[in-house]
């Protein structure tokens, strides 16, 4: 499942970030920002037009990601208790 598929308010756990092309700087930066395996994320808000961008809570930080960016992030929804 992709982070961009999550509805507003949903929580998930990051699996990995996939490069959209070879040496994708955006994917690289997403990993730097903390989107790495096992990190819990939550969709806090979505933009007023077309639900784009999405606002993601990760760690103690909130990042606004465009849908194209969020779709690079693979997540699983079953939250480990």
């Amino acid at each position: 499942m992709r982070l961009s598929d999550l509805p507003k308010g949903a929580s998930a756990v990051v699996e990995c970030v996939d490069d959209a092309q070879a040496a994708d700087p955006i994917a690289q930066r997403l990993r730097d920002l903390g989107f790495v395996n096992g990190e819990p994320v939550r969709v806090v808000a979505v933009g007023p037009m077309g639900g784009d961008p999405v606002l993601i809570q990760i760690g103690f930080t909130r990042f606004a990601l465009r849908r194209a960016e969020a779709s690079r992030i693979s997540v699983r929804t079953e939250v480990a208790a």
Partner: protein, 611 residues
């Protein structure tokens, strides 16, 4: 203690409070310049430590990672690594981290540590951390990190004392580099998790007040309403607070010019002082109020954390024309004047988005075009009702504003498609905690903007104004001349030469001539037309004179020309200054000229066929 200077580089993630800390340390003693060859701002300050040692502090651009994605991040990387040409390697790196956001910021600290240079970690915003019940075991963090850790509160007087004491003492040894330092991202993040688990207890991931505010600010309906109110206030303030002061400054210098020239014998020197020097100073300094009012809002909105929220709400809309949410405020303020708008693009992080915004900002109808619009609409467009409710004159004025916006959208769209670099533009924007802006930080920011404008542009704009004065004054009218002096001047010759270029769009030589002083400031086109048509003053008489001598098609063509034309020279000067490239000035001038010419051509030819 040695009397030698200690070079300190201040680094950290965006929103770590680094600049506030820099302001706290150096006060007003800052030097703002550009790094050689790029338009990234270089901020340096110095202060004398209690020991008498001089500390020289470089405020490096904020970055999330040393794996640089943009020019400003590359500078941070290269300066820290000590291989930026012309920049001595720092003796000490002070890494600033927001104590309430350590999950993100500690990773960067680990990355900086791997450079193998002496590092001190400043845990900033400790006051907020305490309020939110966050506890940090500083001695344990220091032990595990292997670098000195000090607590700071950048926004409080004396909040940097611990940091000053630490950097004034012995320079800490560079952290040992482990042999296998090619740690992967996952490794760095794993280290951060370990550090957090051992040293930090966090009752809540975010501040409750942020959650509550964001529920309103980012709401699809209320959020947009709040945004509309904020935008309205910004626009009104630039237009209705900045503009009258601007006019007053212009009038003030006009009056001073008259007073001074009253003491001088009539002649070229008197004209130079009155029209060239004082007129030019009035123009240049007149931009200052609008710039300061706009930047007051931009700085307050940025510092408070609202600007990224506004960008979040508008991003989708702006993206559809090849821009970013952050382009909106600079473009909005360009309706008052493009100069502060172009300076305001500094808050746009992606350099390509910034350039697009700079290039289309002059298409927003600025207030200097209004006198020209008012004159031509008043003279040529009848006061008539359309569809029973609208005033035709108002409809034409509105259409001109709309033409500018549609033109800008078109240019944005075209630029998106002809750009060679097709790589995706990233948003990836952090929405920081809401904060109350500090008066000192706002004041320092405003002072910097004002000084940059005055220092770098006064000379250029003043020089160009004097040049325009020269062209319209020399050579003087011969003895017994019956026509206005300007007809005999260089401007008169150029105007006559230009009429062949402008004939297809319906401009006679008088209009072509008026375009020359209009290049200095658009509103002067009215005065120039008044001069060539021999009308005293620039009031209603000119409208009648124009209506008698210019066809409706030419007038419409001129209106459209002013909507798109490459003006004024101050705008071109600020584009040069902000992008540090004559190429961008040429592109900007060239595309607007072509666009204005094409649009005027169509309007003129169609209007002639219909009439």
């Amino acid at each position: 203690m040695s009397a030698s200077t200690l070079r300190i580089a201040l680094v950290g993630n965006p929103n770590c409070g680094k600049t506030a800390l820099f302001n706290q340390l150096t006060g007003g003693r800052q030097k703002v310049a550009n790094y050689a060859g790029v338009t990234v701002e270089r901020k340096e300050g110095r202060f004398t430590a209690p020991s008498g040692r001089m500390l020289q502090i470089l405020d490096l651009p904020g970055t999330y990672s040393l794996e640089a994605n943009s020019p400003d991040e590359q500078i941070t990387r290269d300066v820290c690594a000590g291989n930026f040409p012309g920049e001595a390697p720092p003796d000490l790196i002070v890494c600033v981290a927001d104590a309430t956001n350590l999950r993100l910021h500690l990773r960067f600290v680990l990355e900086v540590k791997r450079l193998g240079r002496p590092v001190v970690l400043a845990l900033n915003m400790m006051d907020t951390a305490r309020q939110r019940g966050i506890t940090i075991d500083v001695p344990e963090l220091q032990r595990r990190l292997g670098v000195p850790v000090v607590e700071t509160i950048a926004v409080k007087r004396g909040g940097a004392r611990a940091l000053i004491e630490r950097v004034d003492g012995e320079v800490p040894a560079a952290p040992a580099m482990a042999a296998d330092e090619a740690a992967s991202h996952a490794d760095l993040h794993a280290q951060v998790r370990e550090l957090l688990a051992a040293t930090v207890s966090m009752p809540r991931a975010t501040a409750e007040v942020d959650d509550a505010l964001d529920r309103w600010m980012l709401h699809p309906v209320f959020g947009l309403l709040i945004l509309a109110v904020v935008m309205f206030l910004v626009f009104q303030a630039v237009y209705f607070v900045g503009k009258p002061i601007t006019d007053a400054i212009g009038d003030g210098f006009g009056w001073m010019g008259e007073q001074v020239s009253a003491w001088m014998p009539a002649g070229p020197l008197q004209s130079l002082v009155n029209d060239g020097l004082f007129g030019g100073l009035g123009t240049v300094l007149g931009f200052l109020p609008e710039i300061l009012v706009l930047f007051l809002f931009i700085i307050v909105l940025e510092e408070s954390g609202y600007l990224p929220r506004a960008a979040f709400l508008l991003d989708r809309l702006m993206l559809s024309v090849g821009l970013t949410g952050r382009s909106f405020i600079p473009l909005l303020s360009s309706f008052a004047c493009a100069i502060p708008g172009i300076m305001g693009t500094r808050s746009i992080t992606d350099p390509r988005d910034r350039l697009t915004t700079i290039l289309i900002a002059p298409l927003m109808t600025c207030s200097a075009r209004l006198p020209v619009y008012a004159l031509l609409i008043g003279a040529f467009i009848p006061m008539r009702r359309v569809f029973g409710v609208f005033n035709l004159q108002g409809v034409v004025l509105f259409s001109l504003y709309l033409a500018g916006i549609l033109g800008a959208m078109l240019v944005g769209w075209v630029m998106k498609h002809i750009r060679r670099d097709k790589s995706e533009h990233a948003l990836m924007m952090e929405l920081p905690s809401y904060r109350l802006p500090k008066v000192r930080d706002v004041a320092i920011g405003l002072y910097e903007r004002g000084m940059i404008f005055l220092k770098r542009l006064t000379g250029v704009i003043l020089g160009l104004t004097v040049l325009m004065w020269f062209l319209s004054t020399f050579p003087g009218a011969p003895e017994g001349a019956t026509k206005p002096a300007i007809e005999y001047s260089f401007a008169g010759y150029i105007g006559r030469a230009l009429q062949y270029v402008f004939a297809p769009i319906g401009f006679n030589w008088q209009i072509s001539l008026a375009l020359i002083p209009a290049f200095a400031a658009r509103e002067t086109a009215v005065a120039a037309l008044a001069t060539v048509y021999l009308v005293g003053g620039d009031g209603a008489g000119l409208g009648d004179a124009l209506a008698g001598q210019i066809s409706l098609a030419s007038a419409l063509s001129l209106l459209v020309w002013f909507a798109y034309a490459p003006q004024c020279m101050s705008t071109l000067a600020i584009i040069k200054r902000e992008t540090d490239s004559w190429r961008n000035v040429a592109i900007s001038f060239g595309y607007m000229f072509v666009m204005a010419y094409a649009a005027s051509f169509i309007v003129y030819q169609v209007a002639r066929m219909l009439s």
